[in-house]
C-alpha cells in the first residue's frame, strides 16, 4: 500500500544529510563544549557554527540565539522570562485566542501569578486585527505575543505590522514562528521582532531541538539554573548532535525555501481544488491565500474527524484533525471555534500538511481515496441522514 505522510506540521522526518551529521556528532565528535581539551574545543566550534546557521535563517546575530529543547520550551522561556524580568514595568500581556498551547497555557499560568492577559479574537479566516491589538495596548502592557503562522489552519498573521506597533509603544514583541520557519521568509530586524521561537523537528531537523531568538538588550529571566551554558540563560549540557543537526537543517531550509514554497503551494492548491470538486459540503479553514504553502485544513459536514483520520490511515494516508476526539478533551480545536466554526464543522476538520517529499502522485492518491471515505462515514451519520430526509 502507498504511504502518504501529510502531517508535516506535527513533525517531519529528519533529512538524510542532517541524520548523518547527528550520527557523526554522537559517535566521534562527542565532546562536551564546556571541556577545554580538544574534544571539547571541537564541540564548542561546532556549537557556534550551528548558532550562526540558525541566526542566518532569520537575519539575527549568532549571539542572539539561545538553543532549547524545542518550541515549547522556547515559548515558555520567552513569555515567562520576559514577564518575570519586566514585572516592575507592568503586568499586562497581549496574545491571541489561536496560539499554540505552549503560548496559551503559559499565559494562563501567568494569570495565576497576577499578570493580566488579553486574548485577542480572530476573524473567520483566523486573522488577528491590527486594530484590536492597538485597542488592547495600555500603560501596563509589557509583552505582545502573536504567532507568525497558525499550526492548525496555516493563516499567516500580520506580525510585521504588530511588531511595528509594539516597537512604537516600547512593548516587547514575541512571535511563535514554529510553523513558518523555513517556509516563508523571516527577517527579525525588518519585522521588528524582539523574540522568536523556532523548533527543529518541524524543519527536517532533530526532535528535542529548538531555539529562542532574543534581541540584544532584551531582559530575560532564565527558567532553569545550574550552568554557564547559553550565557546562563539555558543551562545544561548542550544537545550538540541535535544542535548541529538543527543548524544544518536551518541552512538547508533557507536555501530551498523559495523552491519549496512554489512546489508545495501548487500541490496544496491542487489538493484543495480536488477535494472541493469531488466532495460536497466541504469548507476550507484558514485564510484563502495568506497561509503557509504546506497547509490544507478542511471541514466535512456530518462526519467526525477521528473517524476520518483512521479511515485515511487505513489507506496509508497520515493526517490530523482538530476534533476533540483526537486529543482526549471534550472541546474541539480552540482555533476553529475562535474562527467561528460550529462545533460540528470543528469536529469534522482534517488537516493535511505537505512536505518537501510530497509528490503529485501522493496528492492524486489522496484525491482518489478521499471521496469514498467521506461518503462511507456520511452514510453512517445520523446528521447526514436527517439532512437527506429534510431535503427530500
Amino acid at each position: 500500500m502507498r504511504k502518504v505522510y501529510l502531517d508535516h506540521s506535527a513533525t517531519t522526518p529528519v533529512r538524510r544529510e542532517v541524520a548523518k551529521i547527528v550520527s557523526e556528532y554522537m559517535l566521534d565528535r562527542f565532546g562536551n563544549p564546556s571541556s577545554i581539551h580538544s574534544y571539547g574545543q571541537e564541540a564548542k566550534t561546532a556549537l557556534e557554527k550551528a548558532r550562526s546557521q540558525v541566526a542566518d535563517l532569520i537575519n539575527a546575530d549568532a549571539a542572539e540565539i539561545i538553543f532549547t529543547s524545542g518550541g515549547t520550551e522556547a515559548d515558555n522561556l520567552a513569555i515567562m522570562g520576559v514577564a518575570q524580568a519586566n514585572a516592575t514595568k507592568g503586568n499586562h500581556i497581549i496574545t491571541s485566542a489561536i496560539e499554540h498551547h505552549a503560548v496559551l497555557d503559559t499565559c494562563k499560568e501567568l494569570e495565576k501569578e497576577g499578570f493580566e492577559v488579553t486574548f485577542l479574537p480572530v476573524d473567520e479566516d483566523g486573522l488577528v486585527s491590527l486594530e484590536d491589538v492597538k485597542k488592547a495596548i495600555k500603560q501596563e502592557t509589557i509583552l505582545i505575543t502573536i504567532m507568525h503562522a497558525n499550526n492548525e489552519v496555516g493563516t499567516i498573521e500580520p506580525i510585521e505590522e504588530i511588531g511595528k506597533l509594539a516597537r512604537e509603544h516600547g512593548i516587547i514583541f514575541h512571535t511563535d514562528a514554529v510553523q513558518s520557519l523555513g517556509k516563508v521568509p523571516i527577517d527579525v530586524k525588518e519585522m521588528n521582532i524582539d523574540l522568536l521561537t523556532g523548533s527543529g523537528h518541524k524543519i527536517y531537523g532533530p526532535k528535542g531541538t529548538g531555539f529562542l531568538y532574543v534581541r540584544k538588550g532584551i531582559k530575560l529571566k532564565p527558567r532553569a539554573f545550574g550552568g554557564e551554558q547559553e550565557r546562563k540563560r539555558r543551562p545544561g549540557t548542550e544537545n550538540l548532535p541535535g544542535i548541529v543537526g538543527l543548524g544544518l537543517a536551518a541552512e538547508l531550509a533557507g536555501k530551498e525555501m523559495e523552491e519549496e514554497r512554489v512546489n508545495q503551494a501548487s500541490l496544496r492548491d491542487k489538493l484543495i481544488k480536488g477535494l472541493r470538486e469531488s466532495i460536497p459540503h466541504v469548507r476550507l479553514n484558514g485564510h484563502p491565500h495568506q497561509r503557509i504553502p504546506s497547509n490544507v485544513n478542511v471541514s466535512f459536514a456530518y462526519v467526525e474527524g477521528e473517524s476520518l483520520l483512521l479511515s485515511l490511515d487505513a489507506c496509508g494516508i497520515a493526517a490530523s484533525s482538530g476534533s476533540a476526539c483526537t486529543s482526549g478533551t471534550l472541546d474541539p480545536s480552540h482555533v476553529l471555534l475562535a474562527m467561528g466554526l460550529t462545533h460540528e464543522m470543528a469536529h469534522g476538520s482534517v488537516r493535511m500538511t505537505l512536505g518537501k517529499d510530497t509528490t503529485e502522485e501522493d496528492i492524486q492518491y489522496v484525491l482518489d481515496n478521499f471521496p469514498a471515505i467521506v461518503e462511507r462515514l456520511r452514510m453512517m451519520s445520523p446528521l447526514y441522514y436527517q439532512r437527506q430526509k429534510e431535503s427530500v
Binding site: E304, A324, C325, L330, M380, P382, Y385
Partner: protein
C-alpha cells in the same frame, strides 16, 4: 490505541442504517461533544427482531454502536436493558481510558430506544 475488535467494528460496522417499520428509536449525545448515536429497533413478542444504528463520532463511538447492535439482536428487551456501556466496552476488548467516558454511550442509546418502544407499545 484501539483493540483489534474496535478496529474491526469501526472498519466493518454491523447493522448500519434504519430498521424499516421500527417501533423504537433512541438518540443520545450532541454535536458539541462530538458523538451522536441513533438506534432504531423492531421489537416483536418482547424480542429485538432487528436493530440498526447511525453514529456521528469517533472510531470508539462507531464500534460501540456496532457492537451493541450485535449483542442485542434476538435478545429479549429485559436482557438488552441489562447491557451496560461497560459491558459493550469489554466485549470490544476495552477502550482507551479517555474514550470510556465520552464515546461509550451506545448502551444508553439502546436503552433509550427500548424505552421509546415501551412507551408507545
Amino acid at each position: 490505541m484501539y483493540s483489534e475488535k474496535v478496529m474491526d467494528h469501526f472498519t466493518n460496522p454491523r447493522n448500519v442504517g434504519e430498521v424499516e417499520h421500527a417501533n423504537g428509536l433512541g438518540e443520545v449525545g450532541n454535536v458539541v461533544c462530538g458523538d451522536i448515536m441513533r438506534i432504531s429497533l423492531l421489537v416483536e413478542d418482547n424480542i429485538i427482531k432487528d436493530v440498526k444504528f447511525r453514529t456521528f463520532g469517533c472510531a470508539a463511538a462507531i464500534a460501540t454502536s456496532s457492537m451493541v447492535t450485535e449483542m442485542v439482536k434476538g435478545k429479549t428487551i429485559q436482557e438488552a436493558l441489562e447491557i451496560s456501556n461497560k459491558a459493550v466496552a469489554e466485549a470490544l476488548d476495552g477502550l482507551p481510558p479517555v474514550k470510556m467516558h465520552c464515546s461509550n454511550l451506545a448502551a444508553d442509546a439502546l436503552h433509550k430506544a427500548i424505552k421509546d418502544y415501551l412507551k408507545t407499545a
